[in-house]
Amino acid sequence: MGVKPLSPFDLSIAACLLIVLGLLSRRLKLGLEKQLAVSALRTTVQLLLIGQVLRVLFAHASLAFVVAISMIMLAVAGREVMARQHRRLRGSQGWLLGTGSMFISSFSVAFIALAVIIANDPWYTPQYAIPLLGMLLGNTMNGISLSMDRMTETLWQQRQLVEQRLLLGETGSEATAEIRRQAMRSGMIPIINSMAAAGLVSLPGMMTGQILGGSSPMDAVKYQILIMFLIAAGTGFGVMSAMWLLTRKLFDDRDRLRLDQLQSSS
């Protein structure tokens, strides 16, 4: 059983719902109608574009092509991590830090999954590699941006407390251990919660898609379990390395708290 194709007319019916929502938002003075329109437009254009790219990619499964697409995805995810920070590292170092952490975690986890667990021939078969990496990057990006934001915000608020600890002879890493732990937790809680609720409260998106696409529910479920584990591991490793790198950036070689490395986004 194949998936029933959607016509542009079908999609425009769904779009009407958004128009109603936009009108309501204006009526209630939520001020969201512009954002709603832009986001809806972005989702349409971006997904149509990636559809075209994937169509070409699946037709010519070359490693170079897969790597190129992955790098673009990584760069965009890195930009997104930066954009979500209220106080971000100055210059390109914040982008590098987020991107580096995502690279370490998402790419290594994706590689293990593709080469060892799924073990297609070739291992980089784009039908598997690109969606898998996409899901990993998306979730790791969320986790890393949440925890970085939490860490910089808490440090900003508690700078006097942290400096008090430095004055008593603690290193930067010791003085921020608890703040770092909290930040790591806040980055990992969403995926832990969604693992706990999976199947009971919500049917995860990928599994829903597979079932709609005609896979047997049990096959879809097994893939979903795999994805959940990969996402949890990828997010966890990504958050940990981001926090480690961020601590190193925010303290200099004399263990001084350098909040001047941060700039406010507003």
């Binding site: 006097q160 407390l161 400096e163 008090q164 600890r165 430095l166 004055l167 008593l168 002879g169 603690e170 290193t171 608890e178 200099d252 004399r254 263990d255 001084r256 708290l257």
Partner: protein, 208 residues
């Protein structure tokens, strides 16, 4: 016995500052608010980037890791901060090592079991002194350290800090808004002008 030598200290377009505090001597520092007294202490304890040298005896600051330097040349900020729930968790030494200090400041050893949230500002500040002295510092930098205390507590705090300074022969830099306090405690006095220049004061209250 080590003196504290500050030479050509320069930070945030202030300075250069050069002075020396002998072992067992108290240097009092006054100044207009915003003149950079706290910044000066922060630079000496290496909490802010700066240029210039600071030495304690023959130990140059660059020779030791920053946490060791800050334990040795210890700064007490105007406001104290606490991060664990219980007072005692902030102390790493056995209770008998700090019992005497606690008693001098009017605490029984069971204060270590108290919750920090129950402490008054003044109690926190006095306990912060005990917390600072547990590291056995070889120089002290006090930044308005008695501002939150009442008269009786100011007296026992001054006595404790002066005794520590004399007995251990450590140099002490005492920043205060209160000219009378500096009259009582300081051997030498300095005044930090609002433009950041440091003036020596010879005895008596400074006229500004």
């Amino acid at each position: 016995m080590n003196d504290l030598q500050v030479s050509d200290l320069f930070f945030q377009s202030r300075g250069p500052y050069t002075f020396r505090i002998a072992p067992g001597q108290v240097a009092g520092l006054q100044g207009a608010s915003g003149s950079g007294k706290t910044l000066l202490l922060r630079a000496i304890s290496d909490l802010d980037p700066h240029q210039g040298q600071v030495r304690l005896g023959d130990m140059a600051r660059e020779q030791v890791p920053a946490p060791i330097w800050r334990k040795t040349v210890a700064m007490l900020p105007a406001e104290s901060f606490w991060w664990f729930d219980a007072v005692g968790d902030h102390f790493q030494v056995p209770v008998q090592d700090i019992e005497g200090t606690l008693q001098q400041l009017g605490f029984e050893p069971d204060v270590l079991c108290w919750e920090v949230s129950r402490l008054s500002t003044g109690e926190k500040q006095r306990l912060a002194i005990v917390r600072l002295l547990q590291n056995n510092p070889r120089a002290l930098l006090l930044d308005e350290s008695t501002a939150s205390l009442d008269a009786a507590n100011i007296e026992c705090t001054e006595t404790l800090l002066l005794d520590y300074c004399r007995l251990q022969q450590v140099p002490l830099l005492w920043v205060s808004h209160d000219p009378q306090q500096l009259e009582r405690v300081a051997d030498d006095q300095f005044y930090l002008e609002s433009d950041g220049t440091l003036q020596g004061v010879r005895g008596g209250r400074h006229g500004r």
